[in-house]
């Protein structure tokens, strides 16, 4: 048993990654009139509905400062996670033509798919900042910590994508299963409702062990309002944050190892 020693040529990998990203970017909203406006319109529309139902009618947001911005940031971050994983999971199969006919590092495909979601996140973020200014929100120095939470979400999404995209090559049910998990996850994560609405303190702890909940709450806390309850507050210790971070790392390592093991057989299993 011997695997061909393929020298990873970083220069050509970089060049190829760039072209793949450009291609994805060009093709994404091909043939639509509004084009990239859709990547902003979609979360905004979602926000509008949820805002009307939960803030105006049900008034769940009362008691949270800057609730509209708080809600929009949550929707954006969750939307990024959902988009990146959904696109990434099918990406290996979608790019099957390349994998079956060219020697190409498969991880390039995963990374290039993730860049599309990152671009959308950036566009959405600009809109969020405009909103925040118009709304008259105060910014604090703590906002500089925001990228940390985004990196955490990205790495979590990357781990999930690596694992599930490799599984998806063999089992096409994976994408449906993941859609269901995302649907449940949207409600299991405190996106619409403030954590304070959950009265059971044990349940609060469980809720915030989820890396998505922890990172969204953290991001809101540093950018929007200190009303956003973080995992540190719930557990009464800063170090509690290490648990979700550990989950993210574990997901990433398992995803990476499984993807690496399966990648050499992608061409024949597709």
């Amino acid at each position: 048993m011997q695997i061909i020693k393929t020298r990873v040529n970083y220069r050509s990998a970089r060049i190829l990654l760039r072209e793949l990203i450009i291609t994805d970017f060009k093709l994404r909203y091909q043939g639509s009139v509004l084009g990239y406006a859709w990547s902003v319109l979609k979360p905004l529309f979602m926000f509008l509905i949820l805002y009307l139902v939960f803030a105006v009618v049900l008034k769940v947001g009362d008691g949270v400062t800057n609730y509209p911005i708080y809600l929009l940031l949550g929707i954006m971050l969750w939307g990024f996670f959902a988009e990146m994983t959904q696109q990434g999971i099918t990406s290996i199969v979608m790019r099957g033509d390349l994998i079956q006919k060219i020697r190409i590092p498969s991880w390039l495909i995963i990374v290039s798919a993730s860049v599309g979601a990152l671009i959308n996140l950036a566009l959405n973020f600009v809109v969020l900042l405009v909103f925040a200014f118009v709304y008259g929100m105060d910014f604090h120095f703590s906002a500089f910590f925001l990228p940390l939470f985004m990196v955490e979400i990205y790495l979590f999404a990357l781990g999930v994508t690596l694992l599930l995209s490799a599984l998806f090559v063999k089992y096409r049910d994976i994408s449906y299963v993941w859609d269901l998990i995302l649907q449940a996850g949207f409600y299991a994560t405190p996106i619409l409702y403030p954590v304070s609405l959950v009265t059971d303190s044990f349940l609060q702890k469980i809720l915030l062990l989820n890396p998505m909940a922890q990172s969204i709450q953290g991001a809101r806390n540093v950018l929007v309002t200190t009303d956003s309850i973080t995992i540190g507050e719930v557990f009464g210790s800063r170090f509690a944050v290490l648990v979700p971070v550990f989950i993210v790392m574990l997901t990433l390592i398992i995803g990476f190892l499984y993807f690496r093991k399966e990648a050499k057989n992608f061409a024949e299993n597709l």
Binding site: Q2, I4, Y171, D173
Partner: protein
Amino acid sequence: MKRSEEVAIHVMSVSKSFRLPHQNVNSVKGAFLNIFRGRKTIERQKVLKGISLDIKKGEFFGIIGRNGNGKSTLLKLLAGIYSPDQGQIRINGKLTPFIELGVGFNPELTGRENVYLNGALLGFSRKEMDEMYEEIVGFAELERFMDQKLKNYSSGMQVRLAFSVAIRSNSDILLIDEVLAVGDSNFQKKCLDVFEDLKNEGRTVVFVSHAMGYIRDFCDRVAVIDKGKLAFLGDTEEAVDVYNQLNSRDTTAQLESENAGLSDGVKRLGNGKARVINYSFKNERGDTTIRLQAGKKFGVELSLEYYDSVDNPAIGIMFRKHASENLFGINNIYNNQIFGKQLAGQTMKIKAEGVMPLAPGTYYVSFTIADAKSTSDYEELDNLNNIMKINVEGDKFWGLVASKIDMETM
């Protein structure tokens, strides 16, 4: 051409098998069911069985073999797209990642965008592609079309563009799989020139093709892959012979089983006053076979039976291409051979001999018996229409007819 003893590609007892597709577990449900049933025997199909070969630097190396015998799998292993189950492959030098033209082409992008994308697959940056762009487009002769979407290109145009980018590859080792099949003769000529250049530059080329002409023209050495094994490795002419033999053995076996089907389902035409009872073809040596040599002697033997009196029997043989296109037919009357009146109950054996006038290929044969009342009035007694196929071999002819013409300088 410089041919060093340095090895570019080293293949050592490489085997590869694939899971049979129908055994593939494609859903979670299937996977669970398999766990509960405790089924672990996944059937695997061995595609390559212990292939060993060395390709030297600067060599133009051909791989030939019939379809489904492992050529493309071998090429994909060389390209690093598949990894071998057993054995090892060592590549010495930079290898093109392509095995097929136009991979990664996207129909929704313009020709220009696709050139850059394809260039990136070869490892060229935008800047490097900028420098080559004019030349690539010029070579493909597609200057006017570059801002159109690729989906509006004809398949020939797409191949031209793909080939023009692919030949820019600066790798030491090129893998080329059946490129010359598409494109007009003008463009094919260009491709051949490029091959000539590659050969002169001393680059290593691994070339897979069914076109024996190109294999003969370019290859220094050839490997014949048959049923996943190396059937031959070495001299090009010998390799082509081995390939042709394998091919015609295969065709003959296939035709024999087809012929059984044809004669089982026979629907006789004619009024039945006489019947062809038996028919067979003989080769030059007189052996019964359906493998005949173009331009060489062959024979046909027929047994007939008469059930009614027939004044002037006309026994005909017809050769056809594609079941309907008459190529060549003959009978004894046209040959001015009169067999005379036959009575009911009589039998007759006929032996026809001649030189096979058809060029290599497979042909339908029909046998007929008629009563020739006059040169134009034939009463059809029996007609075994397209009753069998024969396989004519040989490689010294083009087209349909195997006729010799002498040529000399004046």
